[in-house]
């Protein structure tokens, strides 16, 4: 049950980041709602998962999946740069974020 909430939280975060992208391009109420709603739902699901899992474990898995997903979504659907320096840097950030969260 806890992992289901973590997965839902990661998916909501990707929705929120798609909203963030759309809203930064075109400031409509609909795009704003996807952006704020997605990230809001992500926090709510993450918070719910804390009832079943250790906070540091839930947090690190969520932030790793969410950040990686956010980057991939932008590369695949919004044509962001796929150059190797960028990908290596992003992998470093994702490992760093996940590792650091799992320790605290």
């Amino acid at each position: 049950m806890g992992w289901l909430f973590v997965c839902l939280a990661a998916v909501s975060e990707m929705v929120g980041v798609i909203g963030l992208k759309l809203y930064s391009q075109n400031k409509t109420v609909r795009n704003g709602a996807i952006y704020i709603g997605g990230l809001g739902a992500a926090f709510a699901c993450l918070y719910a998962s804390f009832n079943y899992l250790q906070v540091s474990v839930a947090y690190s898995v969520w932030i790793g999946m969410g950040t990686a997903g956010a980057v991939l979504v932008n590369m695949i659907f919004f044509g962001e740069s796929k150059n190797i320096a960028r990908i290596v840097s992003l992998v470093a950030i994702i490992i760093g974020v996940t590792g650091l969260k799992s320790l605290s």
Partner: protein, 115 residues
């Protein structure tokens, strides 16, 4: 410096303030301030994405938030420092700097095409 980078710095700064508030707020006006900073944060985040790729902005946003909360934990809430923590922080910072340099290169290339 590209104006969007100022928004990246601002959005990370607001994030750190509200995360700190989240851990320490007790009275209603303190919670009010937390909400105000969350609103500032959500206002500056899309502004940062105007000229910088959203994936970059979001990864930096998550990275700075994580480093900031880890440091707060150590210095303000009596958490412990460890070699592993320093290692992951170093990796994170290297990634953030690398990302900034990588995106600059792409922007330079795009600019070349226009002349």
């Amino acid at each position: 410096m590209n104006k969007s980078w100022i928004y990246v710095i601002l959005t990370c700064l607001f994030e750190l303030i509200w995360v700190f508030g989240f851990n320490t707020a007790e009275t209603w006006w303190q919670w009010g301030l937390v909400i105000v900073f969350i609103l500032f944060d959500f206002y500056t985040l899309p502004k940062a994405c105007d000229t910088i790729p959203t994936g970059t902005v979001y990864a930096i946003f998550a990275g700075v938030g994580t480093i900031g909360t880890a440091l707060m934990d150590v210095f303000l809430f009596d958490g412990n420092f460890s070699v592993e923590k320093v290692l992951f922080m170093t990796l994170l910072i290297a990634g953030i700097i690398g990302l900034k340099l990588a995106d600059n290169k792409v922007i330079d290339k795009n600019m070349e095409g226009t002349f």
